[in-house]
Symmetry: D2
């Protein structure tokens, strides 16, 4: 049981906007009062979390005076110190205010684009005050419903200009941030630009300083598009671009649900945890989710505790999977490895090509080989259900 | 009317496997007889197509003898000559035979991976004989249903090794191919690796010779994942990676339908044609679709003629859109352009950053600005419906 | 041009909540001020609409005093009279207030269920004051995210009890309403009960007074589930249950977009209009949609005008389709009608069964018959695009 | 462990077409040889299944002579006797042969409709020979891609005529079948008529003998449309129409995967088993799924064993859930039950209505009530994962 108790060493983090979500939705008013960030820090710390993240306006209202800002910052710093909590990541709210109704960095309006840059630099300053080392960009309104407007054509150029500029600002200020870009296919816009983890990787390759920039994949976001989140994660890891991760859950093909981690897709959650734990990723495990709108504050903390506990349960299951002899035997048998053949296909030479072209392969035998994947999958499901 | 008559200058192409599709599906037997490739060439030429593409085994059966192969090749070359048709693209069938049941370049079996390389080199040789200049890779079975097998973890490395090897082979043989990688989210595998156009762009950035490799996006494939195909196309164009394009249609969130171009998503088809025509893309307009299974051969040619005709109708509509004064006025008004502000946000300097940070923006005014996108979209729909 | 000018005889209606939507979404604040219902009536009338519909609280705030209610009602009646507008439909807001956070008629709490009944009776009284003859039930929060709670098991019984009770109330009060139940698959709840038009038909069959109850299908709602809305409409018409209709648009498999009618799925919109016009349905054509959040009030009226205009354009296209000789010839040829054979299969007798069982059918010939659906579909698309 | 051993008393059944599926898909040839039905019976019996189901042509080829038919039937009966297996359900293949390429009962061709009736009567005769008591109708090709053809308008009438006719035939022959209609949203047709469980319930209400007809819901089919299968099942049970059930698994919004039961959506699978076990349903638990195409025959039996074993594991978890005190306390607390209030809302009287209308409800208190659904859901997930 104790094995599932969250501790700071697990690096679990939450956003102020997640546990602080008041339960408003497109069809109804808030069901919970706004929570004080200081209160959130205390409660998360009590539950075993390591840190807390924020958009600029989660902490400092968009219309706060300088004096108010300074007081809020001081209070929040004190709370972090009191409760031994860190701020590993910060980000900008470029989607809540009507000014950003048609995008921020990709807006059709020069003034909005300039304002978005200004607001982001200020938010980077704020995050740096708290020692954040990852800066997330979620282009909440970077997208379109009306492609006739033409933003689709030059939006990516504008987004690139902005990120390039801010990379320089980061360097110039010595903040040492790593940028993590977060994709989402749609909502709130009809179609968001750079809709998937893959699209972000493709975009990063076009930047001036690609090494400073990675991905912040979110479980629910690729899942909304019906994609396998573990596969997306594996591609990001393969590319060396896993700079942050947002964990939650979601049913495919519907509105952004931001469910408690593990609440729907247990199997994909399992492979997600397995990948994170086995890939050497040592950054935050950030839960970008919120309690159901039906819940009161008590339900919020049940939700937060549940995210972390399910992660730890799945982590133990990943260890069990790795130690299960029958499973490991099946995996070994599944991979038919011939180092000589493999060597032929790596590092081209004309000779290797000629050799490969002259070989005889027994197609029918290859078609008949046993793979036993049904058995392997069944054993995996049984690990998941706790019956082995 | 004549304006919609397909001609070779429009560069319309079809695959042998598209018009030659016999109408088999998971629940039923073929409804059409296999068509002779020579017959296909003649018919497509009569309809106004420019070229024809093939997988190796569309032309030469997998078990053909060398003599059979040579005879087939000679007959096909003659047909191309007789009908003034070209072969701009070729590709490999790495998914039909049971040998590839669990992948080709990413298979867990060294022998399958080696055989896939061999088969691809031979197919590249075949394509080169016909002067093909684009080589497409669709990883039909590169994917998984059972992630416990672990291919998810090293599959991309294997795929990269294969593409790197084949880039060298291409160079070594002097074939001058440009490689075009084709993404698809799922089907026939539960989840295919590199599921979206974006994922392909991300993958290309990890290759040894990224300049040799681009994307072959397919309208239906990104649409299956509920993504906006025109947006995917715009990102590929932005990245300079549009090496080929597969046009067809599809309803979102369901099996691969490969419908006649324009049959479902007229608006996205319109923006697709508009992008292709206005971006400077001068490659083939390839229809990777097939007639409904209900059709006989007559229906197949109706289908093929319809793809091309709809493209040309939409092309004319794109010109009409560009010439429509009210539409162009709306687009101009929508873009609020301030060159001084824009200059501040491009090409970082500490001074620019300071200037931007000190500016005052009127958030409320920006939130209230009129964009008139509903009107613009309505006019676009009216162009589409032919009432303006 | 004049052919597309909306007039009261077309029976176009809008909800106060549609054109009055302030543009708030889960990620951002309202972009438009609340509009006075009296103003809405005037503007809609100017645009050619026939009527306006409302939820109780669209017109009368939930916390209005009796005096305020009476004043609002009087003002609104006067506006309707002044502008010759009708209120054909009314409905209840059982989703906005936190009291309904976990359902209304299906809530796990007796008090909420009782309050929902009370609120609905009062809203029925309000609608009757305005002469509404259709009463719509959209179970905005009737659903669940947590099936462990068990509402899934008895929710339908509770919903049935409520509808049965309210049917009696309707009769008792002599209001003469026809009830129209509106399905939706999800959002705001993770899963809504009775998620599709079909589910509603099934539910209606279990009611005490099924004749009083029909369906209010919404284009976007069945489309969210990836279903063909025209097919849903056809089933409702077949069952004699089309009591009202909500027209709008939507991309499949995503959040509830409530787009302008015809904005996305032109082909399905065309078949929807064709069915409505040819089925003898003479009720309101209600647009349950709203302007994009990017728009100001001017955009709202562009949106409203666009809904009606597109409907009328599609109506003319339906007439053109019916008059197109080639299309009608194709349809006639497609239907191979043999009255004798048909008679054998209708109205069972042992003799007919024996006769049918003894007949010889030429399977191969049936498999080879020409259907020409590709051609027919292409001509339909050309009607849609205005090139025939 | 023994608790998870399948036995005939569990009433597990498979179709000949499920374990017999040869692994062909739209992009590849079969990977497994056809299995003899007699062999299948033996193997399923060894694994603990109770029965086996078939389409007419799973057992008797469509072109078999009478003598062949009789021999096959005799052999199969002997195998059933030898292995103590039953045939509880039978059905007709109205989708495999090209004759049905555009539908069967709803075809536009009178001859196809008549042939479909004939084939079904013969298949009902065949099923009756084996004592089948449930007759399933899956309208594999009843649907359309081209709505211009008009089948959408009269297809349901034709389908109704056919079912009415066959109900009479059933009665006339004294077969005692209960008919179970099986919905599916799409594939192989672009859109299938009667796409969801709800649509089937609605359709049944329009039949001449609705009592003879119920639903055969399939887990994967409603899931393809992104619907919650447990909710669909609950509606069918509420309507008294659960006549058969098809268990398998599927990711939402994609092609028909027919995965091993429990392979993807463990939580919905859990609520499905819980509903079946607690609703009093005592019919077959039929697995309408097939092994992955990667598998050889050994993999097929792993697949079949896995379906049954996972069912039994989930059944035990349902019992554990029912016995878990904390869970049951949460459920009780969640339901705020006031019998007096409930009585007011059931069985209308003017007096009750008046009383309800005059009551005062504390909206704010209702909005603030604690529901603790996050906690309840977390405990459910922990039951599923075997950690409580």
């Amino acid at each position: 049981m104790d094995a599932y108790l969250p501790k700071p060493e697990h690096k679990f983090t939450f956003g102020l906007w997640t546990v602080g979500n008041p339960g408003r939705d497109p069809f109804g008013e808030p069901t919970r009062a706004r929570m004080d960030p200081v209160h959130i820090v205390k409660k998360l710390s009590d539950l075993g979390a390591w840190g807390v993240n924020f958009h600029d306006n989660d902490l400092v209202p968009i219309d706060a005076s300088t004096a108010e800002r300074d007081r809020i910052v001081a209070d929040f710093k004190k709370a972090l110190d009191d409760h031994n909590m860190v701020v590993p990541m910060a980000t900008t709210n470029l989607f809540g205010h009507p000014a950003f109704k048609d995008g921020a960095f990709t807006s059709a309006d020069s003034r909005v684009r300039a304002y978005a840059l200004q607001k982001t630099m200020q938010a980077m300053d704020l995050g740096a005050e708290f020692g954040a080392k990852t800066y997330v960009f979620w282009g909440g309104r970077e997208g379109a419903e009306v492609d006739a407007g033409g933003v689709m054509n030059d939006g990516l150029k504008r987004f690139r200009d902005a990120i390039n500029f801010l990379c320089d600002y980061n360097h110039d200020q010595g903040y040492g941030y790593r940028f993590a870009l977060e994709p989402k296919p749609n909502e709130p816009r009809g179609d968001l630009f750079l809709p998937t983890a893959g699209a972000m990787l493709g975009f990063i390759a076009t930047l001036d300083q690609p090494d400073m920039v990675g991905v912040n994949p979110e479980f629910a976001h690729d899942t909304m598009a019906g994609l396998n989140f573990a596969h997306a994660l594996a591609q990001i890891i393969d590319a060396g671009k896993l700079f942050h991760v947002d964990l939650n859950d979601q049913k495919m093909g519907r509105f952004d649900q931001d469910l408690r981690f593990g609440a729907e897709n247990l199997k994909t959650a399992f492979f997600t945890v397995k990948l994170l734990e086995e890939s050497g990723y040592d950054g935050p495990r950030h839960f970008d989710a919120h309690a159901l709108r039906t819940e009161d504050e008590g339900g919020v903390w049940s939700f937060a505790a549940g995210c972390m506990r399910t992660y730890l349960i799945l982590k133990e299951k990943a260890a069990r999977f790795a130690a299960d002899r029958e499973i490991q035997d099946l995996i070994r048998a599944y991979a038919v490895t011939d180092p000589d053949l493999d060597a032929l296909g790596q590092g081209y030479s004309a000779d290797k090509a000629a050799k490969l072209k002259s070989m005889a392969f027994d197609r029918e035998a290859l078609g008949n080989r046993r793979v036993d994947l049904e058995r392997l999958d069944q054993l995996t499901v049984e690990i998941l259900m706790g019956v082995r």
